[in-house]
């Protein structure tokens, strides 16, 4: 159960080897309530290393599960496997890819692959998790969206289009599941310094994986359901969203 202060006892992490996922597990393990963590990722070696790390942080039961985000059935069975072992308090959907925009536009299959992972795969995770959470009558689904979902820039709209779809789905699920005792947190970070963004030029208002983890932990305490990281991005994006396209186009390189 998630307690009154937002600390969960069990978690399923999809995309467990991502920096933000790892930081979030570390942050939540710090409340000394986490007892069972199911880590799902593609790479067996990275998964084993992450499982060791989570065990060392004091979680008694760590279950590694391999899955392939490009295969919705594989996503579904990872979710099912986690819930078969008992209640899951928090499902964190943290996998995704960030393509080089110019290459993705020149190579449509690469762009489509981004959508396959970031939208279809993540949406499959949300839908399977939502059904399982509804059945158990409690829990939180934490979905990593992006400020790019709110208004994609010229430099990231392929990625942004998939995140926009995911953001819309997760927001809708949040309204749908409220009465079922299930919370959906839609997390919209700006630029985050991670392995995924290594070598890229940081956008304004950058944050770290630990910042995102902290925001998720705070979000689990409620009552906000949409979380910008850092928090300043909320008013910033609110303004940017309403800028005329001619102006925004010039900003969004």
């Amino acid at each position: 159960m998630i307690d009154a202060l937002g600390a969960p006892q069990s978690m399923l992490v999809l995309g467990a080897t991502s920096d933000i996922a790892a930081a979030t597990v570390t942050r939540l393990a710090g409340t000394h309530r986490l007892e069972r963590v199911v880590l799902a990722a593609r790479s067996e070696d990275a998964l084993a290393a992450e499982a060791d790390r989570v065990r060392a942080s004091g979680v008694s039961e760590v279950v590694p599960v391999r899955f392939e985000a490009r295969d919705p059935d594989s996503v579904g069975s990872a979710v099912a496997q986690a819930f078969d072992g008992g209640d899951i308090d928090v499902v964190l959907v943290a996998f995704g890819v960030l393509p080089d925009q110019r290459r993705a536009l020149a190579d449509p299959p690469a762009a489509i692959d981004t959508m396959q992972v970031n939208y279809v795969g993540a949406a499959a995770a949300c839908l399977h998790a939502a059904a399982a959470l509804r059945h158990q009558g409690h829990g939180a689904l934490v979905v990593l969206s992006s400020v790019a979902a709110e208004r994609p820039r010229r430099s990231n709209f392929v990625y942004g289009s998939a995140k926009a779809g995911l953001d819309a789905l997760a927001t809708g699920l949040g309204d749908e599941l409220r009465a079922a005792g299930v919370t959906v947190l839609v997390v919209r970070p700006g630029f985050v310094y991670t392995t995924m963004t290594r070598g890229m030029r940081a956008a304004p208002f950058p944050s770290t994986a630990a910042d995102v983890a902290e925001a998720v932990a705070r979000g689990l305490r409620g009552p906000s359901r949409t979380i910008w990281v850092p928090g300043e991005l909320r008013p910033v994006m609110s303004v940017l969203r309403h800028l005329p396209r001619a102006v925004f186009r010039r900003l969004g390189r």
């Binding site: 159960m1 009154a4 202060l5 600390a7 409690h138 009465a179 009552p223």
Partner: protein, 440 residues
């Protein structure tokens, strides 16, 4: 009638959803138990537990509103009520007839069944013990649907009193009432300068007074930390005429509307506390006070829990045999800058028979704290350890965040309780969010 509903405790934290049924009869309760799925079943009273004790995520929750019968009062003060009867309803019946609850919590808005499941205590615990002491008979339906008539001394009785509703569904309660001459209480009041004086005054009162309690101010810095107002009293003798008047009628109460942000903050509460403290008389004696004002001051405003806003609040209540633990704990919370908006201090007498019953001889302190305060988790974890080390425990009916490992250490009869419960519910039908969270 059946519907899935979002349920939370009085603290409005951690809501979950359950299928709420309103069985009209004992047979229907047994049928619901037989039909309960893997997520189990739990009886819920008026939802006044602060945490998650009366929730059962994804499972069945029974609302026993139909169990509302109250018998005539016997000449010895015996009365039998359905588990769904509110203390409020019962008081309207018994006070005009010259009786009072032998033990009453700080609100009338709880059910008799819920009061037994939490083995509630009141301002007279130092002298009269908890509610369980006055229960002469319980009707309970176990996990196999069998009906039991339980009496004090029965193993299942001691597991059920304070058993948080996990041994079965209580359907009927017989208790012995207290004879009163009037519905007013002669109240003595002292304004105290610091925690030391507050505690000393409480000890003095307890020697002579039936009821005693201290409100303390936790937002003023040391040396004034724990300054407060001690009130103590006993029922006034009197004539029958004022008995009928003195339990407030079912008037529409002012209510805090829903959907508001948090209405109180550290500075507003600090100013309010200072005003309350200043307004209290330095010392007043034998002031006739109505039952509502003395026992149920917070019932004056409906939904007062909403002032904490959508993030809700937690009530941290512990009991300890060690008087030194009280100032140590308060200072530690103050050092961590935890905003304690309401604090109530009281002495406990010897414990009752309930295996998971909360009161133990010593002191109890209840602290209302906004749940959104960052760092609260670590501060309360540290408090838990201090409480456990002092031989104390936290109150499960209030808890919303304790680490499960500490519960068996705090409740030495826990293992015994688990055995009795397993015998009464071999299939593990009865379950609550509290039970899931702390592994009861």
């Amino acid at each position: 009638m059946a519907e899935f509903r979002q349920l939370s405790g009085w603290g409005r934290t951690a809501p979950t959803s359950a299928l709420v049924l309103r069985p009209p009869s004992v047979e229907q309760v047994a049928a619901a138990i037989a039909a309960a799925g893997p997520r189990g079943l739990l009886a819920r009273g008026a939802g006044r537990s602060y945490g998650d004790a009366a929730q059962n995520a994804g499972g069945v929750v029974l609302d026993l509103a139909a169990f509302d019968a109250v018998t005539e009062i016997g000449t010895d003060g015996s009365v039998t009520c359905g588990a769904g009867v509110l203390l409020d309803t019962l008081l309207h019946r018994i006070v005009p007839a010259g009786w009072f609850l032998p033990v009453t919590p700080g609100t009338r808005q709880v059910t008799v069944g819920g009061a037994v499941a939490a083995d509630v205590h009141g301002k007279n615990h130092h002298r009269d013990g908890s509610l369980g002491r006055y229960i002469t008979r319980l009707e309970l339906i176990d996990g196999l649907g069998n009906q039991h008539t339980l009496r004090p001394g029965d193993e299942l009785f001691t597991a059920t009193v304070g058993g948080m509703g996990l041994t079965g569904v209580i359907t009927s309660v017989t208790l012995r009432l207290l004879r009163i001459g009037s519905a007013r209480v002669a109240v003595d009041t002292w304004r105290t300068r610091d925690l030391d004086e507050t505690m000393t005054r409480l000890i003095e009162c307890d020697a002579t007074q039936r009821y005693s309690v201290a409100w303390i101010d936790c937002l003023s810095g040391s040396p004034r930390l724990g300054r407060g107002v001690v009130t103590a009293g006993d029922h006034l003798p009197g004539d029958a005429r004022d008995r009928g008047r003195s339990v407030a009628a079912h008037l529409p109460r002012p209510s805090v509307p829903g959907g508001l942000p948090r209405l109180v903050g550290r500075s507003t509460v600090a100013a309010f506390n200072a005003a309350v403290h200043r307004r209290a008389p330095l010392h007043a004696t034998q002031v006739p006070t109505g039952i509502d004002a003395f026992f149920y001051p917070l019932d004056v405003v409906a939904h007062w829990n909403r002032v904490y806003g959508p993030a809700g609040f937690v009530q941290y209540q512990f009991a300890t045999p060690d008087a030194a633990a009280v100032p140590a704990l308060l200072r530690a919370l103050q050092d961590a800058q935890v905003p304690v908006y309401l604090a109530v201090l009281k002495r406990f007498g010897p414990p009752g028979d309930g295996q998971l019953s909360f009161p133990i001889a010593g002191w109890t302190l209840a602290l209302d704290i906004p749940a959104g305060f960052p760092g609260l988790g670590a501060a309360l974890d540290a408090a838990d350890h201090r409480v456990a080390e002092s031989g104390g425990r936290v109150y499960l009916a209030k808890d919303a965040r304790i680490r499960p490992q500490l519960v068996p250490a705090m409740y030495p009869q826990f293992a015994k309780w688990q055995m009795v419960r397993a015998a009464a519910d071999p299939n593990g039908v009865f379950c609550s969010d509290l039970a899931r969270r702390v592994h009861l």
